[in-house]
């Protein structure tokens, strides 16, 4: 079986706790898609729930609010990894629940 457990922990630790240009608070809020203020809130909500609807304007608004491209890069990565990680955890939990009753 493929085993990504350690690799998954490693990327989450790296993007949330390692060195970055965005603050750790901002990276964590993007990962959780919770507690962000506009215009980041809109951008990260889209990254998490409907990334194909992200527009140039969404990114321009975040830039206009004073974030650098490196900060936007990090925060968007955190938003994407956070949502995908939650989905992975929900899948694994559903599988564990199903396997118990088989």
């Amino acid at each position: 079986m493929a085993d990504i457990t350690e690799a998954r922990k490693a990327i989450v630790a790296r993007i949330l706790e390692g060195e970055g240009k965005a603050s750790r608070e901002q990276r964590k809020a993007a990962f959780d898609n919770a507690g962000l203020s506009e215009p980041l809130r809109t951008l990260i909500e889209k990254v998490a729930k409907s990334a194909r609807t992200v527009t140039d304007q969404d990114v321009a608004a975040v830039r206009a609010a004073g974030l650098s491209e490196d900060q936007i890069f990090e925060i968007v990565v955190c938003g994407a990894v956070g949502q995908a990680t939650r989905q992975n955890e929900r899948g694994l939990a559903a599988l564990a629940a199903a396997a118990e009753r088989v």
Partner: protein, 193 residues
């Protein structure tokens, strides 16, 4: 690419590598490569560990099956770059493009095994609704997929639920079929490391 740093902000070493890729493949470097090569210690390197293990690590799913899962999850997410990239790899791995096309067109009638069909259905729901329940998993187990196979499939979905989001958020350019054919050849030979 929506961020200029992801397009042009790479290290000298990365830019040299892009030049080599252009020379050897005859293709411009695709945005997926530019993303993982930008500040790789932040995202690209730790992400490649996940993607390579999920796509090429030990599994009773074939490489073609896992590439088909990547294409299918990307289809549900609506990410054109990744649909085309991983359809090309799956078709090449299977030596059967028609199976890939049929699966993306209509999962219910596609010429694939029942465990794979049920697994793709579950991955589709997870991508679409962001969650699945024990009943969904019991259906996949009942179709004949093992618990280990479902865990492997969830690992593929993790990789592509990240990658699809970034491809769309950063607006990856979608090149022509020749670029995807060259990419598929490379990814089958070398994997995602």
């Amino acid at each position: 690419m929506r961020l200029a740093v992801l397009d042009k902000g790479h290290s000298v070493g990365a830019k040299l590598m892009f030049g080599m890729i252009r020379v050897f493949s005859g293709q411009r470097v695709v945005d997926a490569v530019k993303l993982v090569m930008y500040r790789p210690e932040f995202y690209g390197n730790p992400m490649k560990r996940i993607t390579h293990e999920a796509m090429r690590g030990p599994s009773s799913w074939s490489v073609g099956d896992r590439e088909l899962m990547a294409a299918y999850v990307s289809k549900v997410n609506g990410t054109e770059f990744c649909i085309k990239a991983h359809s090309a790899v799956a078709g090449r791995a299977y030596r059967d493009d028609a199976r890939v096309t049929a699966t993306l067109a209509d999962l219910d009638t596609a010429p694939i095994s029942e465990p794979l069909r049920a697994t793709l259905r579950m991955l589709g729901k997870l991508a679409r609704e962001f969650t699945v329940d024990a009943g969904d998993m019991r259906a996949v187990l009942a179709a004949g997929a093992s618990r280990a196979q479902i865990e492997d499939a969830l690992a593929v979905a993790l990789a592509f639920n990240v990658t699809d989001r970034l491809a769309d958020a950063f607006n990856f350019a979608v090149p022509g079929p020749k670029a995807f054919a060259a990419g598929a050849k490379f990814l089958l030979a070398r994997g995602y490391r």
